[in-house]
């Protein structure tokens, strides 16, 4: 047996984040009691270094680690997105952690580890390493969801996330096993080749495996009917972690979904497209109607995140093909908006409390004009009003669905966007047209959180006015998948 020649360069961004995570862990352990560990600066340095590594990798044209971990244009696109999400979350975190009394170095370690899992999830071209990446991401997030140890909601969130997460991992693993049984390989390319000429027995196995994979991914992206955990977990988890989950996890899970269904299962498109379309419809309808009934802002945004999974699934139906670039573009727009939305709530946290109801944000425009304006931008983008990233993104999503012959999906999507205007704009109305209630209970916006929120708002507006560069990149990434 000859020693395998392994080119580790493609994994450098993930390795940098992993090493940074370990360094933060050690720094936390060796910091004297009573002093704060330098978690945030370490993490920022690591994330910036990883971003530089991604840039250098892109200049080198990507790479391939033994056929299992592939850095092509598709994964580079997601690398940039996920590391960007990580940067914003780390910028939002210090003030929020201090305000809620959970300022521990392990927080940053776990965030970095979950980012490593996300990078693996979008880069693995082999089903078993894909599963391992998924678990690396999820296990760190289970712990992060329960970081508010004294709050029952946080404990509930951690337990629910863990149980449903483990359950969905089971579905995914069983699906992987059936695909392996049908094709004799766990490599996506080999599975795709084997399924192009299936026998009757393997076709049945592969179809069942595809269905189970769809259920597993359905849990991860929180699509109806696998969304029940999302509102409780998003509400109970620390708000910065909710931002990470709604932006990062969703992006990584959709990345893996597109890669698996685009590279391994295009031959079965006729059987999974109707299923995905059905998921998209119920997700759009239930997500939006559920959001209408919420009075808690975090729960409202959680249901909105479910609804957006539906919009994205509508374009996944059009994959492999024109749908992919629409999904890629919308994931960036959606990540910026969600980081901003949850980040704005986190930035105002003071003494363990944060604004959660419409009364809490009433008249915010007169007390925190900049923050209210940014939050308004995010909410308008979520609605899908022109000159925001949300409009351009939804336009491409629904156009992809129409071009692929699924016009009804686009019609339902547009109708549901109209419904969503009610609950998004209700918040804007409360901020701008109501008088503030009582004393100003909220913290002044901390500089680092302000920077993060400003960045998100800038991305939202820039993508709304001039989407071309990101769109070109998304197109390039989508092409590398085919």
């Amino acid at each position: 047996m000859t020693p395998p020649v392994v080119d580790v360069l493609p994994a450098i961004p993930a390795l940098i984040l992993a090493v940074t995570g370990l360094a933060v862990l050690l720094a936390q352990a060796f910091t004297p009691r009573g002093q704060a560990a330098p978690g945030a600066p370490f993490s920022l340095a690591g994330l910036l270094a990883a971003l530089v590594a991604v840039y250098l990798l892109a200049a080198r044209g990507g790479g391939d680690l033994g056929g299992t971990y592939v850095v092509d244009a598709f994964s580079l696109y997601f690398h940039a997105l996920i590391i960007g999400v990580g940067l914003v979350v780390v910028l939002l975190s210090p003030s929020y952690l201090r305000a809620t009394g959970i300022d521990r170095g392990e927080y940053y370690t776990l965030v970095l580890f979950s980012l490593v899992g996300m990078l693996g999830l979008v880069s693995c071209r082999e089903l078993v390493s894909l599963f391992v990446s998924l678990e690396v991401m999820s296990v760190a997030l289970y712990a992060l969801a329960g970081l508010h140890r004294a709050r029952p909601e946080s404990q509930e969130a951690a337990l629910k996330y863990f149980i449903t997460g483990a359950f969905s991992s089971g579905f995914l693993l069983y699906g992987i096993a059936l695909l392996y049984g049908a094709s004799g390989s766990t490599s996506l390319v080999a599975v795709g080749a084997a399924l192009r000429t299936p026998g009757p027995a393997t076709a049945a196995l592969a179809t069942m495996g595809t269905g189970l994979l769809l259920v597993g991914f359905g849990f991860k992206v929180a699509s109806v009917p696998f969304h029940m955990w999302a509102p409780d977990v998003y509400e109970g988890a620390p708000t910065t972690i909710t931002a990470l989950m709604s932006a990062g996890v969703k992006a990584a899970a959709f990345g893996a979904l597109l890669r698996v269904f685009g590279q391994a299962l295009p031959a079965l498109a006729a059987s999974w497209q109707p299923a995905v379309a059905a998921l998209a419809v119920v997700t759009m309808v239930v997500g939006n109607l559920g959001a209408l009934a919420q009075s808690n802002l975090k729960r409202m945004l959680a249901y909105s995140s479910v609804a957006h999974a539906g919009y994205l699934l509508a374009a996944v139906v059009a994959a492999p093909g024109i749908g992919v670039e629409a999904v890629l573009f919308y994931l960036v727009a959606y990540a910026a908006v969600n980081l901003g939305g949850f980040g704005a709530l986190a930035a105002l946290a003071r003494q363990g409390r944060e604004p959660l109801s419409l009364d809490d944000v009433a008249g915010l425009a007169s007390r925190r004009p900049a923050l209210a304006a940014a939050l308004a931008v995010y909410l308008i983008s979520l609605t899908g009003v022109p000159v925001s990233a949300g409009f351009v993104g939804k336009f491409f999503l629904f156009r992809a669905a129409v071009n692929a012959g699924w016009t009804s999906l686009a019609v339902i999507g547009v109708l549901m966007s109209v419904v969503s205007a009610y609950y998004y704009l209700r918040v804007v109305v409360a901020m701008y047209m109501r008088e503030p209630l009582g004393e100003d209970a909220w913290a002044p916006v901390p500089p680092s959180a302000g920077l993060a929120l400003g960045l998100s708002a800038a991305v939202v507006l820039a993508l709304g006015v001039h989407p071309e560069p990101v769109l070109t990149w998304a197109r390039l990434a989508a092409r590398s998948l085919l």
């Binding site: 047996m1 020693p3 370990l22 050690l26 009691r33 094709s183 390989s185 026998g199 027995a201």
Partner: protein, 134 residues
């Protein structure tokens, strides 16, 4: 890893497993039924008590354990997993050469960091140092 295209033979090659499964289940079932018929059954109170290596059982098993047992069980897993991965590593060590040494070193270093973390946090001691200070 099989590189040949899968076919019906790929599935039939696993039929041995099915046969094995049937034999195993059948063997157990036959024995259980057979002994049930043959053996005498004379129950007494002694025979129905929980077996605790010859000791008389006392109290219920549902008692509160010290939470420290849980932490130690977690710590045990660190070394358990280490052993699981190092055994196959040792088997192919000679064939892969210096690269294997390097990779093993990285793996052990990561576990050492975990151990250092646990040690600094005082979780290696039965009575934690911070508890003592209080």
């Amino acid at each position: 890893m099989p590189s040949a295209a899968p076919s019906a033979s790929y599935l039939t090659s696993h039929s041995a497993i099915l046969a094995f499964l049937l034999v195993v289940v059948g063997f157990v079932a036959v024995n259980l039924v057979l002994w049930k018929i043959i053996r005498p059954s004379r129950f007494s109170e002694e025979k129905l008590t929980t077996y605790e290596c010859g000791e008389n059982p006392t109290g219920s098993a549902w008692i509160q354990f010290n939470i420290r047992f849980y932490v130690f069980a977690l710590l045990f897993i660190i070394f358990d997993v280490e052993a699981v991965f190092l055994l196959p590593w040792a088997v192919v060590f000679r064939e892969i050469g210096p690269l294997a040494f390097l990779e093993g070193l990285v793996f052990i270093a990561i576990l050492a960091i975990a151990l250092a973390y646990v040690w600094r946090k005082g979780d290696l001691e039965w009575v934690r140092t911070e508890d003592r200070q209080v």
